[in-house]
Amino acid sequence: MFENIFSPETLTEAWGIIQSEMLFALWETLYITVIATVFSVIIGLPIGVLLVVGDKDGVLPLPKTLMHIINIIVNILRSVPFLILMIMVFPLTRLIVGTTVGTTASIVPLVIAAFPFVARLVEGSLREVNPNIIETAQSMGASPFKIIVKVMIPESVPSLISNITIAITTILSYTAMSGIIGGGGLGKIAINYGYYRYKYLVMLVAVILLIVLVQVFQSVGTHLSVKTDKRLKR
């Protein structure tokens, strides 16, 4: 299957494709990833907060049934495989974007798949906050809203950053899959050339770029998380 991968002809041909398409694909991947992450956080963060504060002994206990419903929705969305979810949300995508194919359209299923994940990650981060600190804020007369925005979220910033980094890298790998339904980016290149046209070298380069992107996101995220954490003595 890979025998001719490094022959002179394939090399020149691949170089041509890389020159003409790769940079744009890279940009598309970044664009999709960033936009999808932003929306996932916008939706997932408040839900993650609700999952923590709405608990029986949280700072803003919510009705048990409501908590059950939120939990079930999050769990269902998290358990549907992304490939199937993409197809299932077609009607919603059409409603929002007007079409179900293309780069922008692929953002919708990404967000639907990622926000429950983000919600769980946020939940985990917020649960790490020392409950005694929350209680201290309560003893000062802080309202639940103030506790959320002035204690819980600021205190968990380093953990939130490292969790959102995990979300970004996951979304990045999902963008590769959305190439199947016409979403752009490195995933589309890999599928189009590698799977449909047997140009493995192009696919290989696309995959390497994806790996590099993950590494970059991860190191930036880890660096920021450590840098913002004032619990570490310096």
Partner: protein, 330 residues
């Protein structure tokens, strides 16, 4: 004044009821430094947390300056809590905020302007003796320094009451002393009522005017520290006051009679030496435990003597001293 009226608290753990507080009633006067002491699990934290309704009593009332805390709405309670500051064993500072921002945090909650809050925070930082730590983060401070910051933060909203739950339990003896004297200073300077929860006798001796001894959710004894510590009535109080209560240190030694000399006032004489010479009697010293409370010496000396006869002789002899009595242990 803080009135704790017939407060009970029942926790339900795995369907089992557990009474952490049973019908507790205490009055804490304005300006008091009031100690609440007891063994671990006695219900001290639970009791102090009912004062600001962090723990809702199952029954009974908390009345502060005539205002019933039980009946306040959530918003009213939040308002009232600004008058009741609290410090904790674990300091509970916001770890991602620097010292100055920690101290101005309660002011931020109260909607005070930033510049004003910062000015107040700097003043308080001065008061607690850490003027150069404004920009430091809690993780960069020692335990004692963190507790000072927590105290400054507690004072930010000019509270009338300061609740201290084991505020010095995580600190070494020297730091404990310095924190306690800071609390005393604050009590005198700002006329703040202080409630101190502790399991350390020394804390109560050092700064409390009054004390309540809590055992299994019940107030075993309460009153002025001098009184409770010099003449403990309840079993638990005797346990706390006499380290070797029940003759814990006496192992199979045949002293004939074991007696306890109770010091309840200043002693200016070398009492035991003088007594042995005067009575021409041999005495085994078993244990000595004395402490100074408000400039007067309290405590007890356990002695082993020959027999009941000797005991009577000593009793007669001690009549010449005010505030010194002897009682038989066995």
């Amino acid at each position: 004044m803080i009135e704790i009226k017939n407060v009970s608290k029942t926790f339900i753990v795995d369907g089992e009821k557990f009474d952490a507080l049973k019908n507790v009633s205490l009055n804490i006067e304005d300006g008091d430094i009031y100690g609440i002491i007891g063994m671990s699990g006695a219900g001290k934290s639970t009791l102090v947390r009912t004062i600001n309704m962090l723990e809702r009593p199952s029954s009974g009332e908390i009345i502060i300056d005539g205002k019933n805390m039980n009946n306040l709405s959530a918003a009213q309670l939040r308002q009232e809590r600004k008058n009741i500051a609290m410090i904790f064993q674990g300091f509970n500072l916001l770890m991602q905020r620097n010292v100055l921002k920690n101290i101005s945090f309660p002011l931020e909650l109260a909607g005070v302007k930033k510049a004003e809050a910062q000015k107040k925070a700097l003043e308080l930082l001065e008061l607690v003796g850490l003027p150069d730590k404004a920009k430091a983060y809690p993780a960069q401070l020692s335990g004692g320094q963190q507790q000072r910051v927590a105290i400054a933060r507690a004072l930010a909203t000019d509270p009338k009451i300061l609740l201290c739950d084991e505020a010095t339990s995580a600190l070494d003896p020297k730091t404990t002393k310095s924190i306690l004297s800071l609390i005393k200073e604050i009590n005198q300077k700002y006329k703040i009522t202080v409630v101190i929860i502790t399991h350390q006798m020394s804390v109560v001796e050092d700064i409390c005017d009054k004390v309540a001894i809590l055992e299994n959710g019940v107030v075993a004894e309460e009153g002025y520290v001098t009184k409770v510590f010099s003449q403990p009535q309840s079993e638990i109080a005797k346990h706390l006051v006499y380290p070797d209560y029940e003759g814990g240190s006496v192992v199979n030694a045949d002293y004939g009679t074991l007696a306890r000399i109770v010091l309840n006032g200043a002693v200016g004489t070398p009492l035991i030496s003088k007594m042995t010479l005067d009575l021409n009697m041999l005495i085994n010293l078993v244990s000595v435990s004395t402490r100074e409370i408000g400039g007067v010496i309290y405590g007890n000396i356990e002695i082993g003597i020959e027999d009941k006869n000797a005991f009577e002789k000593i009793r007669e002899y001690l009549k010449q001293y005010d505030g010194i009595t002897i009682e038989e242990v066995r």
